[in-house]
Amino acid sequence: MSSENGNKTICWVPIIRDGVIAAWPICLGYFAIGLAFGVIAQKAGLTPLEIGFMSLMVFAGSAQFIGVSMLSAGAGFIPIVVTTFMVNLRHVLMSSSLSLYLRRINSGWLTLFAYGVTDESFAMNLTRFRDTTWDWRRALVLNHTANIAWIASTVAGGFGGQFIPAGAFGIDYALIAMFLALIVFQLRGMLYIVIGIVAGSVAVIVSLVIPGNAYIIIASVIAATVGVAFKKAGYFRTRREESP
């Protein structure tokens, strides 16, 4: 049951502070999307309580939008659950990648951590794990801060988010801008740039051909595999080997 800290007591105050501060771009983005979701869900006939319950149980933006539209179209249990599974299957890749940084942590904490793995928390935590000041506890706080922001903003939207002007302050762009910045942090050499270009191109092509969001998994798997092949063949030396 021991973590890397053994029996040492842990001061959670700086950990919580760091995690919450790091979560702000995610919270901003979730606020915009969460309000929009709440408004749509309320129009589809859900109460704020039902909206909050879904955000708590599912905690996945696009799957919730799709779930609500299927519910209001009268779809049943199996189609909604199967669709949700397909839409959220991409988290397998994210959790697998995160597992590189979450070694020797007891399964109770991992179980709590897994709940908060989203596109956004994954991207932010993974970038920060390369930083020596970041650890799994801060990452856990970040996950759950984002979760609280999501639940609160979806419920707020359900109570009357239509009174807030859409698109104010460019808030709809917060997550795209965050992803762009996090891509910059990932570009640690020519090989990473090539992988990004391959992933982006394949994603666009697949998204035009196959409906849904399968393009995310397909493009990521192809691009990472191309990356391993290039590395094996000795193309595009990464900068990482040179840096300390």
């Binding site: 599974f85 959790s95 991992l110 795209i176 762009l180 982006g200 994603a203 595999t225």
Partner: protein, 106 residues
Amino acid sequence: MSTKYLLIVCGMGLVTYVPRWFPLIFLSRRHLPRWLVEWLDFIPVAILSALVVPCLITDGQPRHLDLLRPELYVAIPTFLFGLKTKSLAGTVVVGMALFWLAGMVF
């Protein structure tokens, strides 16, 4: 809250949670071969690019190519700003400000 809604949401929660949970539990205790560690190390840049690029240049349902979206021409200066400053906060603020401006101008 009806029982049907309760069941559907619990089902959605379960099928969302398991793919998040299983790899963490399964992989974090195993010694991974080097190629897999490399592959997983390439996943972040691949996923981020696969998430963002279609948002910038495709639109609609079904999706079609659209190179005239404000999302795209705001992304270019935002990305360059990120490259230049390596600042997450700055990039988010610049991106939002430019997108807001773009919404007022166009």
